[in-house]
């Protein structure tokens, strides 16, 4: 887990100090910093108000069709940003650069603000706002002085997640020809310049990521504002929008058109244009599509199985035997959340070439990368799954005369099964839509949906990419839907 990180840092530290300073103090690094940080701030600045507005409209107003909008606002999360950017860039090449990147990552990551803020709004006791109203506050003053302060942890957490995701995003920026740390690292890898130079860049990127992650954890941990509510609550009162309904519907309509309509519409458009000039020499054949789909599926299944298997003991230990060691293990695992895939991939490439040559460009190495990246994702569900199977239920089983194995099979497993299934499904979706590490580490000859879309799009063969993108999106949306239907309650 820590190996790729330590390796990267060690590699960077290998450079003599003056040289390192010189390497970092270049206009290139400055430009990358301006690009990356600028886009990060802009995305946060756009997604935060839009996310809060959408959450408020859905949770607190009588907006018609709000249940549909609640789903539409969350769905973009299931569409990988590089697919979104493929859709936009194929519309017009004018969308290259900063503004295109802002549109793509903004629409892709808005749900990261929307979801926690909507949950916080749902969980807020309506009596709080009512007390404020009776004390003389109008609706807007109520929002500013009571609602917003209570939303702060959820909002800040969401904003930091957006920032983190912008930092680690690669595919979308590469397609939009927008240079950030991740695209630069990839370029250096392609030109064979992997060394202290790129390790230094990676360390700078890593520092920003871990800072975001640490802040996010701190915000989430700040439980000083824990709710005071006990017992049952009435559902919140909804504001009547009146004439404001129309603009509210327009906002949502425009948003859905941008975040879902464009990607889906563009892919459908390109699907219908087979014999255009936008195809490749390789062309589109059913056999190749099947190959790529099978490649994606097998990698995703293996990745999901491996990751959940790794998460099992970790989750069990942290739930049942909480202590300093367990906390340390857990924290380490969560680091994966803040580590850019490209950094992990590059480190694994270097490691494999130097130390474990036979593993280089094999499936196990790629699956190891998936496990490192998606362990946190699996761990969240696995943890809550074991928390459902409380120790006292196990004890009750033992007292009733069951041996430990029978207890595990008849009590723990049935109780934890939905959570474990959810964990596997989450990782499955994440692997299907993953591009960066797959691109760098996939075995020669193995094609996946993501790498095929990438290959075709970088050569502007938009029509050729469409079937793969469509299959991938169908897989991702389909499994997300199943996930939400089957495990929605568990993930609560």
């Amino acid at each position: 887990m820590l190996l790729p990180l330590l390796f990267t840092v060690a590699q960077a530290a290998g450079a003599p100090l003056p040289e390192a300073v010189q390497l970092l103090w270049r206009p290139l690094v400055g430009a990358l910093l301006v690009n990356t940080i600028g886009l990060m701030l802009a995305t946060v600045a756009v997604t935060a108000p839009v996310g809060v507005l959408c959450a408020w409209l859905v949770e607190r107003t009588d907006l018609p069709g709000r249940r549909l909008f609640a789903v539409l606002a969350a769905v973009p999360l299931a569409i990988p940003p590089f697919i979104t950017s493929y859709a936009w860039i194929s519309l017009s090449s004018a969308l290259q650069g900063f503004w295109g990147a802002l549109v793509v990552v903004g629409s892709a990551y808005m749900p990261l603000v929307y979801l926690p803020v909507a949950a916080a709004l749902r969980g807020m006791d309506p009596a709080i706002e009512e007390s404020g109203r009776v004390l003389g506050l109008g609706p807007s003053a109520c929002f500013l002085r009571l609602v917003l302060p209570q939303l702060r942890p959820a909002l800040l957490g969401g904003m930091l997640l957006v920032a983190l995701n912008v930092l680690v995003e690669f595919g979308a920026f590469a397609l939009l020809r927008f240079r950030t740390f991740t695209t630069e690292l990839y370029a250096q890898y392609r030109t064979g310049l992997v060394g202290p130079d790129s390790a230094l860049l990676a360390v700078v990127l890593l520092a920003f990521c871990l800072l975001c992650l640490a802040l996010e954890q701190a915000v989430r941990g700040g439980g000083a504002q824990a709710s005071l509510t006990r017992g049952a609550r009435r559902p919140p009162a909804r504001y009547r929008l009146g004439l404001a309904r129309l603009p509210a519907l327009l906002v949502f309509g425009a948003l859905a058109a941008a975040t879902l309509g464009v990607p889906i519409g563009t892919i459908l458009f390109w699907l219908t244009r087979h014999d255009d000039d936008a195809t490749t020499a390789a062309g589109v054949s059913a056999a190749r599509l099947l190959d790529a789909t099978l490649g994606s599926l097998s990698l995703a299944l293996a990745g999901a199985a491996t990751t959940v298997l790794l998460a099992l003991p970790l989750g069990f230990v942290t739930v049942r035997y909480p202590g300093r060691l367990a906390t340390l293990l857990e924290r380490t695992a969560y680091l994966g959340q803040g580590v850019p895939g490209i950094v992990v991939a590059l480190a694994l490439v270097s490691l494999a070439i130097r130390l474990i040559q036979p593993l280089y460009q094999t499936a196990p190495l790629l699956i190891m990368a998936y496990a490192i990246l998606f362990l946190p994702l699996a761990l969240v569900s696995v943890r809550s799954a074991f928390a459902q199977a409380q120790a006292r239920l196990e004890e009750a089983g033992r007292v009733l005369g069951l041996p430990p194995l029978a207890v595990a099979l008849r009590i723990v497993l049935p109780l934890a099964a939905p959570g474990l299934g959810a964990a596997a499904a989450l990782v499955f979706v994440a692997v299907v839509t993953e591009l960066t590490t797959t691109l760098l580490l996939s075995p020669i000859g193995t094609e996946t949906l993501a790498t095929t879309v990438w290959a075709d799009t970088t050569t502007l063969a938009f029509a050729a990419a469409a079937p793969y993108a469509a299959t991938m999106m169908a897989l991702s949306l389909g499994s997300t839907w199943v996930l939400a239907r089957r495990f929605g309650r568990v993930l609560g």
Partner: protein, 345 residues
């Protein structure tokens, strides 16, 4: 003048009529308790007075100003009322002092002294001012919520089952503190509750809400002693109901010939006796003990009279020690009893 005047108030949710033409008059500087069963419309009444919801019909005037009526709806923030929610609804992101001063204008919100005075008013130490509300017990939170409601000197304070979330040990103390604070502030208050002992002990007047109307509004002792019908008698306390025959200001029933507190027309009646009026004596109506529930300070007896009528009695703890199920004894009734015309049930 009335601090609150409600007339003809009606409200339905879907097909369910919750309030049907409710009338209520809360005089200034008094505490009126509205007693009703769960889901009986108590909270709806408060929410309508607060302005959180709009009635289907009726008028509401607060301090002589109309706030609700045909074509009139004054928003909650402009009604100048105080509101204490079921669990206090303290703002979790603000300190106790900031909570209390929340409803004041900007300079008022910086007035530490005022916060401390209000804390003192509700019987809490001034040192609590800087604490987060999470550090307070449920009863203390409820008192802070009252201080917050009283801070802007509202014309009327509404309390929505303010003690129901507290456990029994905290409830009595918090009740007394709240009643004292309301009296000290000279506030007018409307309290709704489903707990009859709470309503009787706190209210200057108690109104009983049934079928969307207030069936009786009276001082607690009057309500307990002279309920308007048998169902109400059972609702505000334990009651023994017996068939009897009224004649010339007295009634003959299985417990003997009893004096009536109020004259009713001669003829068949339903007699209501409170269990604490029934004493075990050396003579009187013969009865057999069926159950003894011993509470320490007193005990509740279940008995059967000679004609098979079941009655219950409250006796002192010491006296109950001598009684076992199956024991034969005699019952006498102390004080006048109430009779309802027999068609009442």
């Amino acid at each position: 003048m009335s601090a609150l005047l409600v007339s003809g108030l009606s409200k339905s949710f879907g097909d369910t009529a919750v309030l049907r033409g409710l009338e209520l008059d809360v005089p200034e500087r008094s505490l009126v308790a509205v007693l009703g069963a769960s889901g009986g419309g108590k909270t709806t009444l408060l929410r309508l007075v607060c302005g959180f919801e709009r009635p289907d019909a009726g008028r509401i005037a607060i301090g002589g100003t109309d706030v609700e009526g045909p074509g009139l709806h004054r928003r909650p923030e402009r009604r100048r009322i105080g509101y204490v929610a079921q669990d206090g609804a303290l703002f979790p992101h603000l300190s106790v002092a900031a909570n209390i001063l929340f409803g004041l204008d900007r300079p008022g919100r910086r007035d530490r002294i005022r916060a401390e005075r209000l804390l003192e008013l509700v019987g809490l130490p001034a040192a609590y001012a800087a604490r987060p509300p999470q550090a307070l017990s449920g009863g203390e939170q409820q008192r802070v919520a009252l201080a917050r409601a009283l801070a802007p000197a509202p014309r009327l304070v509404l309390l929505d089952e303010p003690f129901s979330a507290l456990d029994a040990a905290l409830r009595a103390g918090t009740r007394r503190a709240v009643a004292a604070a309301l009296a000290a502030a000279g506030a007018t208050a409307l309290l709704v509750t489903h707990d009859q002992s709470e309503a009787l002990s706190m209210g200057d007047q108690v109104g009983v809400l049934r079928d969307g109307r207030l069936v009786q509004v009276a001082p607690p002792a009057e309500l307990y002693r002279h309920p308007v019908d048998a169902a109400l008698a059972c609702f505000v306390g334990e009651a023994v109901l017996l068939d009897g025959e009224a004649r010339a200001g007295a009634v003959t029933c299985p417990l003997g010939r009893l004096a009536l507190s109020r004259v009713v027309a001669d003829g068949p009646v339903r007699v209501m006796v409170r269990p604490e009026q029934i004493a075990v004596g050396p003579d009187g109506a013969a009865a057999r003990v069926v159950t003894v529930s011993y509470y320490g300070h007193d005990a509740s007896l279940g008995l059967v009279l000679a004609d098979g009528t079941a009655v219950s009695a409250r006796v002192g703890g010491a006296q109950a020690l001598g009684l076992r199920p199956g024991a034969e004894t005699w019952l006498v009734v102390a004080g006048p009893v109430v009779a309802f015309p027999a068609r009442d049930l």
